[in-house]
Structures are given as C-alpha cells and as structure tokens.
Amino acid sequence: MKHNEMMKSLGKEALEGMLRRMLEIRQFEEKIRFLFLEGKMPGTVHQYIGMEACAVGVCTALEEDDVIASTHRPHGHAIARGISMDSIMGELYGKTTGCCGGKGGSMHVGDLSKGMLPAIAIVGGNLPIVMGMGLAFKIRKEPRVAVSFFGDGASNEGAFHEALNMASVYGVPALFVCENNRYGASTSVKRVMRIEHVADRAAAYGMRGDRADGMDVLDVYAHAREAVSLARKGEGPTLLELETFRLCGHSRRDPNNYMTQEEKEHWQKRDPIPFFEKLLREGKYMTEKEIADLKEAVELSVVQAIESGQQSPEPDPEVLFEGLYVNMEVPR
C-alpha cells in the first residue's frame, strides 16, 4: 500500500499517536544515554535509537489482548506497547514504581498486564516462549496473537530454530519480528550468516516469511498488520524481517568503532523520525508547529519520568525474599 493510502486509513489521531510513541522512545533513550554517560544511572542499558519505527509499527497493528516479548533492548518495545514511561524509568532506577518493582532492571522491563512480557535478555530466549504463548491461544481458541521481537544475531541461536519450527508445525498465532539492524553487538551479520535475508529462513520451516523497511513506520505497520491478521485468522505464524539500524551504541558507551563511517552516514540519513515527520507534514496530517509542540510535550513527560524514577522509593530489604514462589517462603 502507498504511504498516502496508508495514512488515510490510519487517520490523524492514530498517526499522531505513532509519532508520539516514536518521539517518546527517542527522547527517553537520548536522556538516559546522557544520564548513563554522567554515571547517574545504575546497571547497563541497550538502546533503541534509530529503530523506533519497528516497535511502533508492529505495536500499532496489535490489539489490547495480544502479547509481545522483547530482548535485552526493550525500552522501545515497552513504550510502543504503551507501558508508562514512569514505570519503565522506575525499573531502570530499580525502584518500587518500576514495572517489575525494581527486581528486573533495564533488560527485563515489561508488564504482562499491559500486554508485554518482562523482557528476556538471553539472546533468542523469548522465541520458544512466544511460540508457547501462541500455543496456549491456539489450544484455547482465543483470537490473540503473540509477538516476538528479536535481532539478527538471535536468528543464529538454536532456540530460534526450535521455536519457529514448532510454531509452524502447530500453526500458532504468532509473529516473529526480526529486527535486522545489521549487527549483533560488534558483529556484522555478514560475518555470521551466509544469506542476505533472515526472512529467507522461514522457508526451512514451511512458514510464511516477509520483509519490510524498518525505517519506515508505515511499511512496518502494513506488513505487521497483514501478518497479525493472518495469525488471528488461524493461518499460522509469520517471520517478518525489518531492515533497520542502530543509531547508537550496542550498549552504554559503545562508540561503534566496528562500523564504517559510510554505513553510519547512510543509515543516519534514513533516521525514521524525520522521515515520518516529513510524510506527516506533506500529507498535511501535522504541521511543523504541531510536531514541535508534540516534541515539547514528549520531552516534558520524559523529564517527569526521570524525576519520578529518581524520587521513587527503593524497595524494602524484605522484598529480596518476596515474589519467588507463589505459595511458599524462600527457604533461608
């Protein structure tokens, strides 16, 4: 579908919502990046800058009852899924207001009651789980879809193989979204697989494979919507590859020295946010001014989230021993 038609069908409110989410992710990541560099945040962090169109495009295609699962790089997915920035920030600070009560941390943000499993930081680890969520929907005949986000690197894990094959065999309502950002940590995809497209691996499972432009939120949305609708109709899972790029380091303080300058510049020009803003302006869905106002509002909400995160209380010591077993004390 063309951009114009797509925008028309989505309508102003939805489009504005999508831009808002993308801006939230960008602002959120930029601000905590700074906090990290200043040494003011605990732990480590893997950021989503440059990949905003992926999470937002896919999540826009989902219903409330659907469930997503993420990776070590989950902030974007969480924001796109509508988890409050306060509770994500709370989690990054390890506070009680965090979406995991401070027990999870950056690599595990998520809130199942909001449709996002706490993120799985083991590369490839969420795919078998998502297959299982889809299996549950299938057994119970629920019209829900389970979505896995994972990277190019993850597609080399055994877990990918077992999960996709089983998902295909059972025809579960699942969507496997490979965010191919060309690198797994410092390692270029070219070094670790001899094929061009991760989506081509779908054929090994008799599964539907598809690709979309991960820097174009509308393209992502269109392809995700189709896959989700097929899954919901009982026509089985899709492996959807999104071509994207990290416009930030792999983890805090990574200067990306393993990337070429050329490559960085090429992708920088494809930044999904200005691209989408341009479409919105050109399509007359938003004015320059509206976008500027939105940015300001978003920035304010991020600043508030940071303040909330900083000022929220630390968990009580006893929390250490809570929330492991449902009906049993932790043996001491």
Partner: protein
C-alpha cells in the same frame, strides 16, 4: 487398586486433565497412536481422550520447555516431559533462566505453573542416558523438586505439582515405573502401591519415614530409597536398626523431619545414585551439620556413585550404582567405628 508408578502417573494426569482444561501435556512421542506413550508409557492412550491437549513435539527440548513456559504465562498448566532426564541439559536455559526466574524478575507479578517430568537412573544405556540430574537443579532457586519413590506418592505429588502455581520438577526413576509391554525395563523394582479411590494429594515439601529405627538415619530417594530399605532389612538381623527417610521433595527440604530423626539416631547417611561431587547429599549433609552438629555420634556419611560418568559395562554399572549390600556395609562400618 494396585498400580505401578507409570500407571499411577497416567491416571493422575488423566484426572487433572479432566478436571482442568488448562492442563495439557507436551513432549516427544507422548501421544502417537500406535506409539509408546512417552519413553516409559506414562501418557499411553491419553491422546484418545484429550487429542488437543496431548501435544507431540519435534525433537526440540528448548522448544518443549519454552512452549511450557509461554503457555503457563498465558494461564495454562503444562506438563512437559523429556524422554530421559539427561535431555534437560538441552533445555537448561529455558528451565533455569526463564521458567525458574521470570516470576521473580517480574517483581512477583507472574505465575509459572509448569510441571516438568524427567526419568532418571543408571540403567544399561551408557553415560548419556543415565544421569540423575537432581543436583543440577538443587542450585536453582525458583523450582520445586520432587522425587516420588512409590506409586502412591507419584500420584499424590503429580496432583500437587499440577495444582501448584510454581514450577515443579518431578524426577521419576526408570526402574520404578513398572512400565509394561515392550517398554518394560529389566532390573525393575516393585514400587506399586494400593491407590485410594479419593482425590488425595501428597504435599510438596513433606518427607516421610519409610521405616523407623534407632541407630542410623538413612536418607534416600527413588531407587536408592528402595535399596536403603533392603539394606535396612539385611541389617535388622544383625541388630542394627535403621530409620529410612524418603524426602520425596528435594527442594524445599523437609529439614524438620530429617533433624528429628538424626536427633534420635545420632548418625546420618545420605544415599544417592549420582556422583558424590556436588550432589544432593552435600546439601542435606551440610544442613544437618549446620543445625545439629552436637547430636552427631559419627561423621555425616554419603554413599553415592563414583565421581565419574556412568559406565556401560553391566559389571561396572553394578559397582557404580550403590547396591543394598554396599549401603549395608557402610552402615556396618559406621556402627563399628562410632
């Protein structure tokens, strides 16, 4: 009604599936018509009543436990099994990193009602189909571990496990199943029980005194429990009185029961089928020493397999697995020395 462990588990699973439509089984070769009902016949025929909830899988252990994990998160109550406990090693990340940890990582918001079943025991198949993997999971917070030595307990613990909202790993012993037909095992020990009609359970976390005695407390699970009872029998004639405790649950340990017995006997021996190094016996033994060292008349004693993989040779295998005679010998030595 007298049932063996395989039959008792089958009946228990059938009952749980009938009672709660969220319960389902997932594993390799578990429900193929004309097939085996899993490696040891436990699920034989269940597919006839529950075709949609007996999920046969590819040979994909990561997938099996991932599926169980994901389905449980969505409110199902999966019973996942491996054909041999050894294959848990292929799915270790899903079990230890995901199933065991997700609830804690979520700040206690999630539930993970997964039952995992794993046959163990050194049974003439060589080193890769012999491991008693209990020790590997003793180090893993977030999982309850049970090990039924009788059909009664197997049934009661399976029911408790399915109804429990936490992950429960059940170790079963190949030589105790009493599997029949082409899946019968040589060297089988009778672990059948008279099974009550009613819907009883055996609580997770409670051990049981299998035999009362005054001189030595022997702690042993699964096949070793039966061998320990045999040893106790032998020793009775010699005037040595053994108390045999079957922990039934390995984690959380029923420490009260163990300490109560050791306070009485003053001697404790843990018998296990896995290598001694880093075994379950280490944890039980050290807990006794931490809590009631002053009651010990003799040093805590572990009888275990050697610190090697299991050898295939039947002659060596017999030396590898602690036999009743070897257990009795160690008790005799303990009584003589202390």
């Amino acid at each position: 009604m007298r049932l063996g462990i395989a039959e008792a588990l089958r009946k228990a699973i059938h009952g749980e599936m009938a009672n709660d439509e969220n319960v389902f089984c997932i594993g390799e070769d578990i429900g193929i018509p004309g097939g085996y009902g899993g490696a040891f016949t436990v699920t034989l025929g269940l597919e006839k009543d529950f075709r949609e909830r007996i999920i046969d899988t590819p040979i994909s252990e990561i997938g099996i436990f991932g599926a169980a994990c994901g389905a449980a998160l969505m409110g199902m109550r999966p019973i996942a099994d491996v054909q041999y406990g050894d294959f848990l090693l292929c799915a270790m990340d899903q079990v230890v990193d995901q199933i065991a940890k997700l609830r804690y990582m979520s700040g206690g918001k999630l539930k993970m009602p997964v039952v995992m079943r794993a046959p163990v025991g050194v049974t003439g198949r060589g080193a890769q189909h012999a491991q008693c993997l209990e020790p590997y999971f003793m180090s893993c917070p977030g999982i309850k571990i049970v090990a039924p030595a009788t059909a009664y307990d197997a049934m009661g613990l399976l029911r408790s496990a399915v109804r429990d909202d936490d992950p429960v790993l059940m170790f079963e012993h190949k030589l105790l199943y009493g599997s029949k037909g082409i899946r019968a095992e040589s060297g089988t020990v009778d672990a059948s029980s008279e099974i009550p009609e009613e819907d009883y359970t055996v609580p997770i976390g409670k051990g049981i005194v299998r035999r009362e005695g005054e001189d030595v407390t022997i702690i042993a699970s699964l096949l070793m429990m039966h061998f320990s009872l045999q040893a106790a029998e032998m020793l009775e004639g010699e005037g040595i009185s053994c108390e045999v405790i079957d922990p039934r649950t390995l984690w959380p340990l029923d420490l009260d029961l163990i300490l109560q017995s050791v306070r009485k006997t003053g001697r404790v021996m843990i018998v296990e089928e896995s290598p001694k190094q880093g075994g379950v016996g280490a944890e039980i033994g050290v807990q006794v020493c931490e809590h009631i060292p002053d009651y010990l008349l003799a040093p805590v004693t572990r009888v275990a397999a050697p610190n090697t993989p299991a050898p295939f040779s039947p002659a060596l295998e017999k030396l590898y697995v602690p036999q009743p005679e070897r257990i009795a010998d160690r008790v005799r030595a303990m009584m003589e020395e202390y």
